[in-house]
């Protein structure tokens, strides 16, 4: 398997999780991740965390957990400029709907429940249009046993079918709240294989999709505005002008 850059975009640290950012980052680095995003809820993290230690990046993220869809849009507008990754903790139909219809949202997570799959073809289509990724929370397969895990696996299988049909971007995440919840990328690929995801798709969910989310939200120095980027150096333009005059 070719070496890819793996990212886990949903990791909690203190006070939402049990371990500090340093502990989570050290273990993720040991597991050969290229970067993680710390996604505590907005109330619990006072300042924006974003750091880069030789070859390992920590992205700042925020998980929005609201009970009212109209409140969601306001919060997204407020946090968009402050964080690299915005994750909406879904749940009810209206919140899931609001999240996939807002192109400022990066990821929709935890949208299903035990009874309801939470994801359908309507949401899939607007997720594709607005480029909102949905996350497969593999922590459910790791921590549940018996009936709950059966339900989680069958929900994942249904969601995968929709993802393939409507070409929705997706992520694999461990949703780790302590360092013992983290799993290495290949273990996550193996877990994704349980519900029929191919290895190529799983690698895409661990590296390509997170990379595109990060690059979208962290514009490079040459970025002007959406769709416009400086690609060549000035000297080329000058020489072209001279050519026209002659």
């Amino acid at each position: 398997m070719a070496r890819s850059n793996f990212y886990d975009l949903s990791v909690y640290s203190e006070p939402d999780g049990k371990n500090t950012i340093e502990e989570m980052a050290a273990l993720s680095k040991h597991f050969c991740y290229k970067g993680i995003a710390i996604i505590n809820s907005p109330n619990s993290c006072s300042s924006k965390i974003s750091a880069c230690f030789d070859d390992f990046e920590i992205f700042s993220g925020v998980e929005l957990n609201v009970d009212n869809a109209s409140k969601l849009h306001g919060l997204i507008g407020k946090y968009r400029k402050m964080y690299d990754v915005i994750i909406v903790h879904g749940g009810s139909e209206s919140i899931n709907r609001a999240a996939v219809e807002n192109s400022n949202v990066d990821v929709l997570s935890n949208f299903g429940s035990l009874k309801d799959n939470g994801f359908n073809h309507v949401l899939a289509r607007s997720a594709n249009e607005n480029d909102v990724a949905i996350s497969f929370d593999l922590g459910d397969i790791i921590h549940y046993r018996g009936g709950k895990r059966v339900k989680a696996l069958s929900n994942f299988r249904k969601n995968l079918k929709l993802v393939r049909k409507y070409d929705v971007p997706f992520l694999l995440s461990s949703n780790a709240r302590s360092c013992y919840d983290l799993r290495a990328p290949r273990e996550l690929i193996a877990l994704a294989g349980l519900f029929g995801m191919t290895r190529e798709e799983a690698i895409c969910g661990l590296s390509t999709t997170p990379e595109s989310i990060i690059s979208r939200n962290r514009p490079s120095a040459n970025y002007v505005f959406e769709g416009v980027e400086i690609v060549s150096v000035h000297s080329d333009i000058v020489s072209l002008d001279e050519g026209d005059n002659a």
Partner: protein, 124 residues
């Protein structure tokens, strides 16, 4: 008795792993937990196809063997192990090899097992 011809033998793969744990775990406890996890995730049928076995374990590192075609199911089953007798653990597969020697030489010798309490800083 005549020995089994090589073509009829099971094709095995050896998975070198490290166990990240917050307390000492014994071999017997770990074996019990591996079987319970694979029984729960893959069922009796799937477990019989995988034929998972803890080949060696020294408290920190070890080797699990399984059937060649079912390495990914074995990995998934091992990934679902979260605790052994109340001690929190994480399996980290370091590599897969076709021989015990290959697995130990390539992946286990000199491997530094991660300890969350001691290595809680980023090594620069």
């Amino acid at each position: 008795m005549k020995v089994l011809p090589p073509t009829m033998r099971e094709n095995k793969r050896y998975l070198a792993f490290e166990l990240i744990a917050d307390a000492q775990v014994s071999r017997d406890e770990l074996i019990r937990e591996i079987f319970s996890a694979s029984g729960s995730l893959l069922g009796d049928l799937g477990s019989s196809e995988c034929s998972i076995w803890l080949f060696a374990f020294d408290g920190l590192k070890g080797v699990v063997n399984c059937e060649r075609e079912h390495v990914w199911q074995t990995r998934a089953a091992l990934a679902t192990i979260t605790n052994v007798k109340g001690k929190r653990v994480t399996f980290h597969i370091l590599g897969v090899s076709g021989t015990v020697l290959g697995a130990t030489k390539k992946y286990l010798e000199g491997a530094d097992v991660f300890n969350p309490e001691e290595q809680s800083h980023i090594n620069e």
